[in-house]
């Protein structure tokens, strides 16, 4: 009974800010205004499956996957270094990983906008070093860079927390039994960190596939991901029905990928 009482505020919070809005999304997605009344319709949902919008969804998935892969490739070694016995300055590095997150996400993304400009800081430095200028602003590369930059800590931290918990005697045992460092990593360390990797993948993939700010700022307005598409329906064209249908589709997609990933993990641990 006491436990239930304590969970009361949380339940209320969930009801008001998660369940109710979710219900509204479903409601708007499945109804349309007709002669002053809202009537059931599948028109919004069927519009989601028109090729032009499926292309947008595919582009969002592709970019999110690429960004997640980059985050993994960059993040895993960092997490390894953080937990390495030979590395003595863990706290400083952890602070360095977390520090950017103290600043506003929007402000940091805006900074890239000016850094990447044709006459921006990066090109000035490249010119000074007599290197060719790069023009990646408003392209896939800029959007992926923005995603990796913003979401990398969400990959590093869960991996770090699982690596940190690995029993060192297992690694020592592997070494004693003559395993090379690579074999130790492959057979002992990596399998035990899998839970953290999956948490990291989920935590990077979800915000990456739904972002609209990064694609808006670094992709330049023409760069439409599903997040932008949804934003546009609510903020510009005032078509809440279609916007809700897109959101519903996206939620279904995320739930499916999420549950597949969670099931394949099986073990507990990490942040999920």
């Amino acid at each position: 009974m006491k436990k239930k009482l304590i969970s009361g505020p949380y339940l209320a919070w969930m009801l008001i800010f998660s369940i109710l809005p979710l219900f509204l999304v479903v409601w708007y997605a499945l109804t349309a205004e007709s002669e002053g009344e809202r009537v059931f319709t599948l028109a919004h949902l069927s519009r989601v499956f028109e090729p032009i919008y499926l292309r947008v969804i595919w582009r969002s998935l592709r970019l999110a996957l690429i960004s997640t892969a980059f985050c993994f490739l960059l993040g895993y070694p960092v997490a390894l270094i953080l937990t390495s016995r030979h590395f003595k300055r863990h706290t400083i590095l952890v602070v360095l990983v977390v520090l950017p997150m103290w600043m506003n996400f929007l402000a940091r993304t805006y900074a890239w906008l000016t850094l990447l400009e044709k006459n921006g800081l990066i090109n000035h430095i490249l010119a000074f070093l007599h290197l060719p200028a790069m023009n990646i602003l408003y392209t896939d590369a800029a959007v992926i860079l923005g995603m990796v930059y913003n979401f990398l800590p969400f990959m590093i931290l869960p991996i770090y927390s699982t690596l940190y918990k690995i029993d060192h005697s297992l690694i020592e045992a592997a070494e004693d039994l003559g395993a090379t460092p690579l074999t130790t990593f492959r057979r002992v360390i990596f399998p035990q960190s899998l839970a953290g990797v999956l948490s990291g993948v989920i935590m990077v993939f979800m915000p990456a596939v739904t972002t609209f700010v990064i694609s808006r700022l670094l992709g330049g307005g023409q760069y439409t991901l599903i997040g932008n598409m949804i934003e546009q329906q609510f903020l510009t064209t005032y078509d809440w029905g279609f916007g809700s249908a897109l959101s519903l589709f996206l939620m279904a997609l995320l739930l499916i990928t999420g549950s597949v990933l969670m099931r394949s993990r099986g073990e507990e641990g990490g942040l999920w």
Binding site: M1, K4, L5, G8, P9, L11, A12, L15, I16, I52, Y53, R55, V56, L113, E117, K118, N119, N135, Y138, G220, G221, Q222, Y223, T224, N228, M229, Q232, Q233, F234, L235, T236, T237, Y238, D239
Partner: protein
């Protein structure tokens, strides 16, 4: 029983929350919420208004008429003064979204030029007080463009690939394309609109970005050769960078008027009227004009401006200069088609 109790807790929580939202901040100064375009006021006039009238101003900004409309429609915030453009004012009037202004409380309205009264969007002058007006044209960088700029067609030239900034605004982007094709920017013909859509899709690979206010930083920094901008912004950018110049295409363009209105959600109509009247005071309007550099409809401010600006028919075009230009109409029943075209153009990006 247990379940019931949880339900009660939830109900009470919801009730408290609702009560909290509806609470009035009694004892505090009256507050009005003003909703204006981004970077479209000399912010110091807000402080002066607060001091003089003892009314607190919460100032919020929007970037397109459409986003302003969506926010007004969604409710949530009870805006007291908003600054939409002509066609959006018409739409709001038709949908009952605006309060009639009591012009007895706006004596300074007499200072607004007659040319800006009785316009089609508010034919009886009941709902709106003009703030600034202007046109849409092409800003270009003389070091990158060496041909005369006199047609919208230049925005489709391969030569300027990735050097073009388009306005990220539905009506403007579709409208100028229609103008270039020789149609009305209020076209209601499916065939004409389909052609405009095809042209916009064709143009997309040449466009560096679809932008709002960012265009100012970009063009001043020389990041592009051509940009579709509002006339007032053009003047500002030319003052910042001498290489920039501005042209109104010969096919004609859009003439717009941004005006102050009182949304029907307003809870402080008299305070809102005081604010509107204050904004029309010559000294205040002059400060705004000096800061924003847009074309003013205010007769006394206009007569105080330097001759070289008021004589420039790109920034103060006479009625003859605008013979083939048009004001945006509210599209009413055609609007969903425009929305769809814009959504599809944006989705087309490869």
């Amino acid at each position: 029983m247990k379940k019931n109790r949880i339900f009660c807790v939830l109900l009470i929580a919801a009730a408290l929350l609702a009560a909290g939202c509806g609470q009035n901040n009694a004892g505090e100064a009256e507050t009005i919420i003003v909703y204006n375009w981004g970077d479209y006021i000399d912010q110091s006039v807000l402080r002066d208004f607060e001091q003089e009238f003892g009314i607190r101003v919460i100032y919020e900004e929007f970037d397109t008429n459409e986003s302003m409309y969506a926010k007004l429609k969604a409710g949530g915030t009870a805006y007291d003064v908003a600054f939409p453009s002509d066609y959006m004012i018409k739409r709001l009037i038709d949908e009952g979204g605006l309060e009639k202004i009591n012009f007895k409380n706006i004596p300074n309205y007499s200072l607004i030029g007659d040319r800006f009264k009785n316009l089609p969007y508010d034919p009886q002058n009941e709902y709106s007080v003009p703030y600034f007006w202007g046109t849409v044209g092409i800003l270009y960088n003389k070091t990158m463009v060496d041909e005369p700029v006199d047609s919208w067609g230049i925005l489709w030239k391969e030569k300027y690939a990735k050097e073009i900034f388009m306005l990220d605004s539905q009506r403007d982007a579709i409208g100028l394309t229609l103008k270039w094709l020789g149609y009305s920017l209020n076209s209601k013909s499916d065939a004409e609109l389909a052609m405009a859509q095809a042209k916009l899709v064709e143009q997309m690979p040449l466009v560096q970005a679809y932008v709002g206010d960012e265009v100012k930083d970009k063009m001043i920094a020389g990041e592009g050769a051509l940009a579709v901008v509002w006339s007032g912004d053009a003047l500002n950018m030319m003052l910042e960078n001498e290489d920039l110049d501005f042209a109104l295409p010969q096919e004609g363009t859009n003439i717009w008027v941004d005006a102050m209105v009182i949304p029907s959600t307003s809870e402080h109509k008299e305070a809102a009227e005081k604010f509107i009247n204050f904004m029309c005071r010559t000294e205040v309007a002059a400060r705004n004009c000096e800061y924003i550099n847009y074309s003013t409809p205010h007769t006394e401010v206009l007569s105080g401006l330097p001759e070289e600006i008021t004589a420039d028919n790109r920034f103060y075009p006479g009625e003859d200069d605008l013979s083939n230009s048009e004001v945006f109409d509210d599209l009413a029943a055609m609007l969903p088609l425009y929305d769809r075209i814009w959504t599809e153009v944006k989705a087309e990006y490869q």
